[in-house]
Amino acid sequence: MANIEIELEVNGRQEQVSVEPGKTLLHLLRENLGLTGAKDGCRSGDCGACVVIVDGRSVNSCMVLAPQAEGSSVMTVEGLAQGDELHPLQRAFAENWAFQCGFCTPGMLASCYALLEFNDNPTRDEIRAAIAGNFCRCTGYQAVVKAVEQAATELRVLKGGSRNA
């Protein structure tokens, strides 16, 4: 089958790629654009290693066919930092050792980023719900929750206000 030309925005850059119709967004990112942050952990929508942000929402990129992403705006873990300045979530993950092998981290960060964009003062249960689709075989998740709490606090301070402090 002929390749399909698609256009999409990735980490703020407009990209044009030619992909086989069956290719997933995950593999478009990894293979066509060399963005190997998002990982292939199961390719069946179960593990969350491939999570990226599409139009503001966290999605399992292994479950999205590349042509479906036509015209959308995608953000991957590589797009979280502003230049050399890490996003507070990235800093909090590093400071709290919210990873061991690190293979789940890009997906975990994307899920948490989506949560904090939409809710900068999440309860512990909301954090748990946000990462319920992200497997981590290493950490037992405690450090991840701690990191998200720290990042949320920092983000609220940075924004200079909050729903309720």
Partner: protein
Amino acid sequence: MRAKETAPGRAIPHESASLHVAGEATYVDDIPELAGTLYVALGLSSEAHARIRSIDLEAVQNAPGVVGVITAADIPGVNDCGPIIHDDPILADSEVQFVGQPIFAVAANSYTAARKAVRLAEIDYESLPAVLDVATGRQQQSFVIPPMHLRRGDAEQALQSSPSRSQGAFSIGGQEQFYLEGQISYVAPKEDGCFHLWCSTQHPTEMQQVVAHALGIDFNQVVVEMRRMGGGFGGKESQSAIFACIAAVVASKLGRPVKLRLDRDDDMTITGKRHGFEFAYDVGYDDDGQIHAARVDMAAQAGFSADLSGPVVTRAVCHFDNAYYLGDVAIDAYSVRTNTQSNTAFRGFGGPQGAIAIEYIIDNIARQLGKDPLQVRKLNFYGRDERNVTPYGQTVSDNVIHELVDELESSSDYSARRKAVAAFNRDNEVLRKGLALTPLKFGISFNVVHFNQAGALVHVYTDGSVLVNHGGTEMGQGLHTKVSQVVALELGIDVRRVRATANDTSKVANTSATAASTGSDLNGKAAQDAARQIRNRLIRFIAEEHGANLADIEFAGDRVSWGSGEIAFDELVVQAYQNRVQLWSDGFYKTPGLSWDREAMQGSPFYYFSYGAAVSEVVVDTLTGEWKLLRADILHDAGNSINPVIDIGQIEGAFIQGMGWLTSEELRWNEAGRLITHAPSTYKIPTITDCPQKFNTRLYQNHNVEDTILRSKAVGEPPLLLPFSVFFAIRDAIASLADNRINPPLRAPATPEAILDAIDALRGEHQ
């Protein structure tokens, strides 16, 4: 002395922290691909046991995108990748031994093309009788290695004379490693018949060896490089070999770079898992609950080949005592051959399976006597000066289990919560709570003495930056961070100046697997030895050059000082270089004092023991079998921790992983021998929703009595035993339905189905 041994502070980042959070940490699949790379898919057996009559791969060969196909006949060297016994074919040739065994490999221009082509194969099988479960294999005396027997005293006699007996059976399932990064190998042919292999493996040296054997070339023609794994947990110790070998054979035949990355389903279908065990036991005890004799028959599901079953089952035998003195002992252990995946290493390596059996028995004894299980546990703990020799003849000389459990009992408020649980259960018919405190003792060292060695290289460059390379592999356990800390401490410099590099068989040779929790014990010591030699040369240089007194020279804070003067570390190394002082060194370490007689199953196989304990509280819905872990409290002994943040992470992670093994992770095979739980949709590893809201983990203040690296203790595997407390809390909740008088026959994993079965059995007996 203590202060000096303490590692340099807590706020040390993970050596790759900034890479991980930026998505820039490179795993094998992220390495930029070489031009001409081919992708491999595997053709797998659909039969559990059969003779292969014929293989027709013509359609496969002619499929679009296919560049080459290989079968066993294409292997130029030996068709075997077994780690100990040579019964592990790389590709099955005349006979298949389990559903999922690789028979051929297809290399194509894309994974999709390779995968599509695989389906076009025509394989004609002639079915042979298959053994699909342990009981059948045990009955048929179908073993992968000879049975093992351990005896102390006369267990038979002691059982006869014991006032009471606990007799029965207990079964425990296996566990899929579910490393988040699946198995992967990437091989590039190099000049002069050499190969470079990037492989997600815990054992680069063994990969080098098996690839060389498969290709019929020398070890020095294969370089294996391994920067980091996305998890290993034992599953990438021996079982990365088959994929490395297949990729290498394809690369050698086609002369192209070859990548073999498994789909999750194929990975789970092909690779071995934690061994499931069946136990039959007979234990004699007195009216207080003290054990006088134990006889146990343990049968492990080895799968179709030996792989690491020998050492795994040995470790199970050596951990049946857990933290208890058992009197006279008779253990018979069988590694049962079944027509299933060849089971292998998984964090704990048989230790957890052996130890949970005695915990189950002690739990029984307590209920039979109407006591709190914790009392009976304490009563049977190894003594300090007597009752302190294990069934395999090693004296337990570093015992802290009494103090540790006492501390946890009070910090977790055990007795008040025991009462509260009883009160809750009096008021609730359907929801029942359970509470349990379980201890652990775990022996550290490889059970094979000669594996307990390690090497390292340390280079100090003339700008004062340092590079360390050692024989261990990084799989998330923080090994590179700990080793870097050790080197930094030795040279008195900031850890940020030390870079740990990829394990590489062309740097440190003949390494052991990063396994048995020994990674930092062995490699930390080797790196310390290397750094110390450089430090000693620098000391001699300063003494000569600056007339310093040897004893006054100190390395700290990126400076070196002596009574009358001091110098920045980077200036010193320039001076030393200009004076022709060697600024790099190798280092070596071998663990002292180990012995093991495999036949008699006697000796001192462990350098020391780690200890820990956990309290778990659960609530069980006795109508549906659903349950929830409400709270967990852990106290664990990591000795003088090199890095408390790493160690606590290891403990929390092991606890949740072990809880998965004992509760939600169930392996099921159908009547044809096909693993039906071969994907995360059917095989349930814990997610955040399974974790307790209250989860308190603390390190026990301790100091290794042995001269280990900075007096720390290994922490990789031991905490996998902590979630025994979850399993026994569930059993405690169930037992409350019959006033804690009857022992619920709960199997592991305690899935809701298993819980309901136990409840039914209990009610049946109660009436």
